[in-house]
Structure formats: structure tokens, C-alpha cells
Amino acid sequence: MKKLEIITRPEKLEDVKELMNKSGICGMTVSMVSGCGLQKGRKEIYRGTEYTLNLLPKVKIETVVADRVVDGLLESLIRTVKTGEIGDGKIFVYNVEDAVKIRTGERGDLAI
């Protein structure tokens, strides 16, 4: 099993959810994060004092999937999320050693 960790613009969450649904991926976990990369944040003035908002809001979507679907999913994810503008974000792939479905106690591929 692999974990895909997609870090991207918050407004893309709905599209990713739709894609997952269509692709039959049945689980994911979402959290709000902030990030910086090439896209560097912006300067604003508050009560006359300049300050930098140097972390931008991003959404992190984690989904653990079977090895075989990884490549196809990566491609459709890119298609869905890409705007071509800086700030599109990254997808990282990790190995998952084991998974447990708490409700049933099932392990491994059965669990996801």
C-alpha cells in the first residue's frame, strides 16, 4: 500500500473529492495546513506596519491506496488539480507497511 499526500490549493478540495469518488477510492483524510514553496506569500500593511503573510493556506489530502492504482491516480490527480500557476502544490508518495480497519480488525489491503 502507498499513501498519497496531496498538498494543494484549498479551492481544489471539492474537485479532488469528486475525482476520488469516481475512481472508487473509498477513504481519505483531509487537514488544513499552511505552506510555502516557490509561492512566497504577500506583504500587507496593518495599521501602518508592513507585515508578510509568508505561509499560504493549503489543504492536505491523505489517502492510502493499493500499490496498483497509484500511477493511474497520480495522473488523474495532476489533471484535476493543475492550474499551471505557481502554488499548485505537490504530491508525495510514501510506503505504508500495514493498515488496520478498526471496526473489523482486518489488516493490509483489505483494510483500506
Binding site: G41, R42, E44, L55, P57
Partner: protein, 443 residues
């Protein structure tokens, strides 16, 4: 002007205290009367001023956190700019010497004596009372156009409505203009104040178009929940509180003993309307909807405003009942059928219920209404008034918003709307310490 019914009040007072023998010098002296009336009018004006806080809280509460600062700023500035604009010009258009029943033309910058008004209170007390009313009309629009309007566009709009659009209507009805001569009854402004704001909101929201994400491609509306029901509710309580200045205060006379009844009709209409909306939403949606019920309370308040001094307490309950029905189905109609995106329900509350309440005076007014056997004349006059004001406001705001659109622009850029107006229009966030679900800019 509002009718002085002092002598009647005194007679009433005498009747109510039958055990006391009254001296011959019973009538209230002029200086005393003026003092009492000035105190009353000013305190009512202060309560109406406080409605600005109510509007600010309702509007911000029912919209998203990323735009909270922008809405606050619009509410603050429409009052600030409107106060100056109305003092300088609007008041003169509204209450200046009548020009053909259409507009007034004296009293710019408070510099004329305005004796033709026959005021029983100092002119300045009257101006402050009228200023806070003007600001109420202006502020209604900010909610309906929230979360997507350019700040500069709103600033221009709010100056224009305070300078001319509202004052003209005010002149027709309260400044001795043609509607007042026809016997149109709008005691405290269901039409003059609320429906003016409501129609302007309708046109503004229609021209600017819905927020991104409000409608699916197939036209199905999506819910975009507000960020703080507690602040919205606080706003409703503040507005209800302020309305006790708005309606009873419109007597401009604390010596007018109908102020007790006006307080009661105001309260009962709001209470019934809120209850009715709770019941309707409970039945229709399966659960009593909080934010719609909050709108319901306001709907009753708006609707009773025209007739608060003319209807009985029991009549006011019926007006509240109708308002509750109108506001639910009206908001649904605007949202689903007209597909006009009004984040806070301002069109339904102020436009529809303002019009409805004004018309209902033709039925429920105890002295002139159809239900009390006085025929349909009053009803007809009410309908004409409502219609004429709607035409005027719709026409002028249609032109106004289109001019703004063509010049400075009406709507913010797509990206700004997505990330929030606070950052883009004002360079700061409203809730810098909290994690916001969308579009926040952390740290």
C-alpha cells in the same frame, strides 16, 4: 410630518386616571412638552443608531469569515459617509421646502430654519433622528451584495443613496410630497426605509451576480453557511432593541400616549413572525432553521413598521403572521427561482416584508382599513405608494449600479473573492488568530 395627537393623548390620560381630579392647567406646557419630546426623540434616535451595530453583526455573522472585515468596514462607512451626505444635502432634499411634491429644496448643511416643518423639537434633534433613519436604508444593501462587491463601489453607492435616492422617497411620504398628500400611511418606514433598501439590494445583487460556488452548473443553489450564528443572533437582538426607537420614536413625541401601543404592536409582530418562521421551517426542512428564524424576527419588525401606530395589538399579530410566511417563501423564491444570491436575506426581509407590511395597513388600520369596514381606498393608496417607491428605487439603482460597473467596477476579481475580500481589499484578516476553513492566510 407625524401627526401630533397630543390633545387626544391628554384626554386619554384623563380617562385612564379617573380617580384623580385634574386641575384646569392640565394641558402640558409648551416648554415642558418640547423637553419631553426632545428627550424622547433623541433617545429613540440613539437606539436607531445602535441598529447599525445590529446590521453589522447580522451581515457579518451570516457570511464567511474571510470577508468579515470588509462587511464591518462597509457598515461603518455607510453610516459615516451617509451621516455627512445626509446632513449636507439629503436632509434638504427630504424635508426642504416642497418643490412640486417631488423633492425638497432648503436646509442644506442644516443652515435654514425650516419653519414650515412646524417641529415641536429643536431642528438638530430632528436632523439626528432623520440621519439615523437614512443610514438604516443605506446599510441594508451591504448584506445582499456581500462577499463580492468592490469596496470603492460600495462607498459610491452608499453616498448616492443617502444623497438623493432615499431623500426623494422620504420627501414623497414624510416631507410633504405627493404620497403624503394622498394619505399614504407609512408611519415609521416599512416602505420609506426598508423597502428602499430592499429594492436597492435586489437590483444590486441581481446586477453583480451570485458568489462563486453559490449555484451549480445545473442552477441548483448551494448553501454557504455564515461564519457566526452567535454574532448574527446578537445582531438580531440589537436590531429588535433598536426598533423600539425606530417605531415608537417616530411619534417624535413622548407626550403622545400611543407610544405604549406602538411598542406592543412592534414586539408582537416580531414575536409572531419569528414563531411562524420557526414552525414553517420545522415543517418544510424537518428542523427549525436558526438563521431563517432570525430573519423571521426581522421580517415581523419590518412589516409592522408602516402600521405600528395604526393597527391594534391583535392586528399586529396577523401582520407578523403574514410576514413570517412571506419571508420564508420569498427568500426561497429569490434564491431558487430568481437565482439572485442574497447572502443574508435582505431582499426578502426588507424588500418583500417592507412592501407587504405597508400594504397590510390598508387592511388592518383600525381607522381606515378594509377589515374595519372602511373600504378599500386605503389599500389602494398603500399599493400605489409601494409601487411608486419600488419603481423609483429600481430605476435609479439600476442606473447607478450600471454606471459604477462601467467605471470603477462593481465586482472584485475572482481570485480576490476566493481568498477573501479582507486580505485583498483591506490588507488584513478579521480573525488572525483562528484557523479558518477556507482561504485563510495563516501566521
Amino acid at each position: 410630518m407625524k401627526k401630533k395627537i397630543l390633545i387626544f393623548a391628554v384626554v386619554l390620560a384623563i380617562m385612564l386616571i379617573p380617580t384623580l381630579t385634574l386641575a384646569a392647567d392640565e394641558e402640558i406646557g409648551e416648554a415642558t412638552k418640547m423637553a419631553i419630546n426632545t428627550v424622547w426623540t433623541l433617545l429613540a434616535a440613539f437606539l436607531v443608531f445602535f441598529m447599525q451595530a445590529g446590521f453589522a453583526m447580522v451581515e457579518t455573522g451570516l457570511t464567511r469569515a474571510k470577508n468579515a472585515g470588509n462587511i464591518i468596514m462597509k457598515n461603518l462607512m455607510d453610516f459615516a459617509i451617509g451621516s455627512v451626505a445626509f446632513f449636507a444635502v439629503g436632509f434638504a432634499f427630504m424635508f426642504g421646502a416642497d418643490q412640486g411634491g417631488f423633492i425638497g429644496m432648503s436646509g442644506f448643511f442644516g443652515l435654514d430654519k425650516m419653519e414650515h416643518l412646524g417641529l415641536g423639537i429643536p431642528l438638530e434633534a430632528f436632523i439626528i433622528f432623520q440621519t439615523v433613519f437614512a443610514a438604516t436604508a443605506a446599510t441594508i444593501v451591504s448584506g445582499a451584495m456581500a462577499e463580492r462587491t468592490k469596496f470603492i463601489a460600495y462607498v459610491i453607492y452608499s453616498a448616492v443613496i443617502s444623497l438623493i435616492i432615499y431623500p426623494v422617497v422620504g420627501h414623497w411620504v414624510w416631507g410633504g410630497g405627493w404620497l403624503s398628500k394622498m394619505g399614504f400611511i407609512d408611519f415609521a418606514g416599512s416602505t420609506v426605509v426598508h423597502s428602499v433598501g430592499g429594492w436597492a439590494a435586489l437590483i444590486g445583487a441581481a446586477i453583480i451576480g451570485p458568489r462563486i460556488g453559490k449555484y451549480n452548473k445545473d442552477g441548483k443553489p448551494n448553501a454557504i453557511p455564515g461564519h457566526s450564528i452567535t454574532l448574527a443572533a446578537l445582531g438580531v437582538f440589537i436590531l429588535w432593541f433598536g426598533w423600539f426607537g425606530f417605531n415608537p420614536g417616530s411619534t417624535l413625541a413622548g407626550t403622545d400616549m400611543s407610544i405604549g401601543r406602538i411598542s406592543m404592536t412592534t414586539n408582537l409582530a416580531a414575536a409572531v413572525s419569528a414563531t411562524v418562521v420557526m414552525i414553517i421551517t420545522w415543517i418544510r426542512y424537518g428542523k427549525p432553521d436558526v438563521s431563517m428564524t432570525l430573519n423571521g424576527a426581522l421580517a415581523g419588525l419590518v412589516a409592522i413598521t408602516a402600521g405600528c401606530a395604526a393597527v391594534s395589538m391583535i392586528g399586529s399579530m396577523f401582520i407578523g403572521l403574514v410576514a413570517g410566511i412571506v419571508v420564508v417563501f420569498g427568500i426561497e423564491f429569490i434564491d431558487r427561482v430568481l437565482k439572485i444570491d442574497d447572502p443574508v436575506g435582505a431582499i426578502g426581509v426588507h424588500g418583500l416584508c417592507g412592501a407587504t407590511g405597508t400594504i397590510l395597513v390598508g387592511l388592518f388600520a383600525t381607522e381606515t382599513g378594509a377589515f374595519y369596514g372602511h373600504g378599500f381606498n386605503q389599500l389602494l393608496v398603500q399599493a400605489i405608494g409601494v409601487g411608486a417607491v419600488a419603481v423609483w428605487v429600481i430605476a435609479t439603482t439600476f442606473v447607478l449600479f450600471n454606471i459604477i460597473k462601467a467605471t470603477v467596477g462593481l465586482r472584485v476579481e475572482k481570485e480576490h473573492e476566493e481568498t477573501g475580500l479582507d486580505i485583498h481589499e483591506h490588507g488584513s484578516e478579521a480573525y488572525a488568530d483562528f484557523h479558518i476553513k477556507t482561504a485563510d492566510t495563516l501566521f
